[in-house]
Amino acid sequence: MAFQEIKNVVIRGMAACVPEHVEDNRQQPLLGSAEDIARFIENTSIIRRHTVGNSGICTSDLCFTAAQQLINELGWQKAEIDCLLFVTQTPDYQLPSTACILQERLGLPTECFAMQISLGCSGWVYGLSTIASLICNGQFKKGLLLVGDTVTVTKSPLDKSTFPLFGDAGTATAIEFEEGAAGIKVHTGTDGRGYDAIIIKDGGYRHPFSESSLQMQERETGIVRNNLQSYLNGTDVFIFGITRAPQSIKALAQRFNIDLQELDYVVFHQANKMMTEQIRKKIKVAPEKIPYSLSEYGNTSSASIPLTMLTALKEQLTHGKQKLIGCAFGVGLSWGSVYFETENLCCPSILYL
């Protein structure tokens, strides 16, 4: 079983940056009649989404802005930051790794471990467990976990099954070595049988970009896209989420003797309200312990957990102690749950680009 207990690390703060540009699902013709729109919003809870539109803003721009603000408010010296992880599926280039670009842009020392990880919805949980592992033995002292996606650029504006669901965001989480700290507890899972449930088929090296990659095709009524745009099998992913997410949280709780009723919050990846609500019922946690950011931001891929914490729990995180589980699931298929505690977290206000 893929459990980890990683001690001697503390989360010091987190920040998020979103594009200023907003798309409103109440004026989204893809969704159909006013009645259809109301039903979509009732089931998903997604009203508005911050998207990069045609601005050319990249994930690294959003994460850079979030990281700068976080470093300033924490009062960290850049020279002390010796570890940077960038988790995204929308990097600046095929190569080099955008983590290297961010090291330079942020003014971090050249004596810095910098690496990019390709994961989507589950990215923050995996990124946190990876950076915690790197820091926990004290060889690195201060780390930045930059996580986000401009996932809307991968969706066809003519695809009703994906386009109205997603928003863009970049986040930064600051992690520090501290001898004796309780650290984090993690459960992770992977099922590559579902690799094609969410997929951009062309443009990698299995199916390199060709002229046919650009052909817009109607796959079903209301679903027109090309092969450089993301396909999403909503039913398979829904079934996957409502099965694996509760299993993962229960496994984590059982392995580490965590009483779910004693948690302050369970922060889910924000896919849609119906899915989250179903998972909540299965782990039997009260609705008021489940924060959301769906109505303002939609599904923000790997950025969803820190973005939700910052938008819904800023006050609680800034003042006092909290016990949380973060649980994320999606493209891969990949999922994970992490238990962590926070105390007087540094939480800059949401930033805009």
């Binding site: 039903r39 099998n233 039913t235 829904f238 079934i239 119906m274 179903q278």
Partner: protein, 77 residues
């Protein structure tokens, strides 16, 4: 089981005023769409504690077959 399931099915698809029979091919209802499908999967999970996998689910055509699949999954628990 059949009567109660049909009642829950009608509530889920918001078709309380319609006549629903076990032999009905439910994907042909005008109320049926992708959101309705997710709501139905969620309802079955909640009421019967079983989740029908994507592929077998897509092959189910009638309400009667749906009930049979739920019963089979429940007895295998």
């Amino acid at each position: 089981m059949t009567e109660r399931f049909i009642q829950l099915f009608k509530e889920t698809l918001e078709m309380e005023d319609k006549d629903v029979q076990p032999s009905d091919a439910f994907r042909e209802y005008e109320e049926w769409d992708s959101l309705g499908q997710l709501s139905l999967i969620a309802m079955i999970d909640e009421e019967y504690d079983v989740v029908i996998e994507g592929k077998p689910f897509m092959e189910i055509k009638t309400i009667g077959e749906l009930i049979k699949t739920i019963e089979q999954l429940k007895s295998a628990l």
